[in-house]
Symmetry: C2
Subunit: 418 residues, 2 copies
């Protein structure tokens, strides 16, 4: 039985399946008789010494955690700076880890978290403290380097494709006398991965979504209007999917054009869909509807992709195994070993290959005209939304999600002063 | 074998289950060897003599129709006026019905459609044309009179409750360092039925949604801000569900305050959630996220309520049976015969009891403080979202929705001049 404690923490925007990773971490560690603490609200809880004793949760609760969206221990958006600039914080972190005999630190997040895990491991080495740090991938943005895809993305992608397919059927029915244009806003400030996933909703020139707007391509309003008009005239209606991060050729975010202050000086929260809908209405006179799913798209565990759930669990399990083997400063990555049939495996990659890198969507994934996805994108995306993994439902018609007890561990250090 | 043709048409905003009603209509009629035509785009297709021959669709296609959202034959937002004001249109309608030997007319919609069906039946009687008109209930707004609930509402209600429960878990995880307030905008311009359904997502003072804003209660911004602040301070975050139709005490729609023109003279499409989010940010300084699900909430067949699907089918079947029995100017209504266990049956009600009436939400469904639902509301709502009825999924991870062939019947009359 390995000596010491494993600390697990969740970071950044949560997903429909990050708790599936957490469940796999806890179950794998339990099977090896390793004690697991979880930091409350990510790295912040580690700094504040707000630690949760997961041994107080029943096996049934941890099983249920596997199908519960959100981040059960809390997450945070705190980004530590460089070792030099944030040294006091890194040293406090190390002090907390030492105080609780933490020998394995698993940080479940995106680029920033990989960077934090890497820096903690370097500091531990500098102090001669035996610590194994493992990054665990997670992000709906799908922008982590090296790994073929990121747990969380597949379920958000499935939500996007299904929602666009369903809404398009609604618009098609209404178009003759009512709504002719529908705009769906997808998450993705820097890369159009989720907008691209909407392309799975249909194939062929007349199938919705008819136009996808990617942050990878400059937004040309006049050209967009022409495309919308041509689509409405040809198909009868037009379904548009816009990535929140689209920019004009001079690098301004289109979303920002829709915001600002109203005539009372009140903040107008914009967004791309709202802005585009207003512009299309003004320019083309069509009745327009639009949606901003926001958090719904990343928390919709009821519509999770089975592939995604399986991968989320697999990285959790692998992270514990790598940690217990002493594989320091690595991240379990997903490797696509076969396209047809789709097969994947988990392999460790060095954290410094992941930290602070950002995976862009390949240029070959966007159609030449800039408004749709290519066959290559379809081949990449489709397996990621494959399979259903619905949560159990109660008699009341609602998914049975768990709320953990989250019992706090008694602090051993003086309170954290930030 | 009954002589003549049955005409079916879909009207108003479509739902996740109106096609389940259509499938039941066609299957019930087929079993009785009755020919079914469908009007393209509702009553408009009947006026234009754009009729679809449903006998060209396979049994498998009609079965798949039963789990496909949207309106497969197209809907419309055309409201006919009184018999006197719109007499030419009513007479054209009757001429088309006669030309195709239509003896049974089923109109699937809300209040306006019930009214139209009633007027067509009166005109037919006046002309001595033997026609049986049956209204078939449908609306996510749940505002039809007499019937205990409306097909379409239960699935939208389930979507609302599940989405709010899921998003709330996301917000809870983010709240410590990021989003503290989340605003969900529910459909319902005149009645807060869908906003009320969000209340099923949680129970108890600290469970999300923490605040529900109903059109039935005047919106008091200062009081709302105080409630948001108190909730964030007590719970750590606050999930708000706002009905699109909320109004201030002087009767102005809050949604309109968020719209208008921006400084460039461009249309700003507002909405309640966007407006409230901006105001909360300005007044309280919290980071706010918001969602406008729009059509997603009424087309989410992937999350349909089984109760709702069963009822949508039942009204379709009953409508055909009533029509073939010559029960003119009626609508099959849903009657709740038992609360625990929940039981219901279908009974015909006279269309003039339904047409142009609007069912308000009972005052006793809104909590005394105006920000939540009562136990009575829970008892009414909960059975309506009960049960799951997922569509079949393909190997590609997407629901298998059908697109009908919609083969047009050759017109027999001169083109329609409106």
């Amino acid at each position: 039985m390995p000596q010491g404690t494993l600390l697990y923490a969740q970071s950044g925007g949560v997903t429909a399946v990050i708790n599936a990773t957490a469940a796999a971490v806890i179950e794998t560690a339990r099977a090896r008789k390793v004690k697991v603490l979880a930091a409350r609200n990510g790295i912040l809880g580690a700094l504040r010494e707000e630690l949760i004793d997961t041994s107080k949760e029943s096996a049934a609760a941890i099983r249920a955690l596997g199908h519960t969206p959100g981040g059960a221990f809390g997450s945070c958006r705190l980004k530590l700076k460089s070792l030099e600039a944030d040294r006091a914080r890194y040293e406090r972190l190390l002090a907390v880890l030492q105080a609780h005999d933490v020998r394995w630190f698993l940080y479940n997040g995106g680029n920033d978290s990989a960077d934090t895990a890497l820096k903690v491991s370097r500091l531990a080495a500098e102090f001669g403290y035996p610590l194994t740090c493992v990054g665990v991938p997670k992000t709906v943005d799908n922008d982590l380097a090296v790994t073929d895809c990121c747990p969380g993305f597949g379920s958000a992608a499935k939500y996007t494709a299904v929602s666009v397919r369903e809404a398009a059927l609604d618009v098609a029915a209404m178009a003759e006398t009512s709504t002719k244009v529908f705009v769906y806003e997808a998450m993705g400030r820097h890369a159009g991965w989720l907008a691209a996933a909407a392309g799975l909703a249909g194939d062929g020139p007349d199938a919705a979504p008819h136009l996808i707007l990617f942050p990878e391509r400059p937004f040309d309003e006049a050209d967009f209007f022409a495309k919308v008009k041509a689509t409405v005239e040809r198909v009868g209606y037009c379904v548009v999917v816009a990535s929140e991060g689209i920019q004009t050729a001079d690098g301004r975010f289109v979303a920002d054009a829709g915001g600002g202050k109203d005539s009372f000086g009140h903040t107008q929260l914009g967004g791309v869909a709202s802005h585009l809908a207003g512009r299309v209405k003004d320019a083309l006179g069509y009745k327009v509807h639009w949606t901003l799913p926001d958090y719904l798209q990343r928390s919709a565990r009821h519509l999770a992709s089975k592939t995604d759930v399986d991968q989320a669990r697999a990285v959790g399990k692998a992270a514990v195994e790598l940690a217990l083997k002493g594989r320091n400063a690595v991240m379990p990555a997903i490797v696509r070993t076969s396209q047809a049939p789709y097969r994947w495996k988990i392999e460790p990659v060095a954290l410094d290959k992941v930290a602070n890198h950002e995976k862009k969507m390949p240029a070959g994934f966007v159609r030449k005209d800039g408004y749709g996805i290519t066959a290559a994108a379809r081949r990449y995306l489709e397996p990621l939304i494959r399979g259903e993994a619905p949560p159990p439902y109660g008699r009341d018609g609602l998914p049975k999600y768990v709320t953990l007890k989250n019992v706090a561990v008694k602090p051993k250090l003086p309170p954290y002063q930030d």
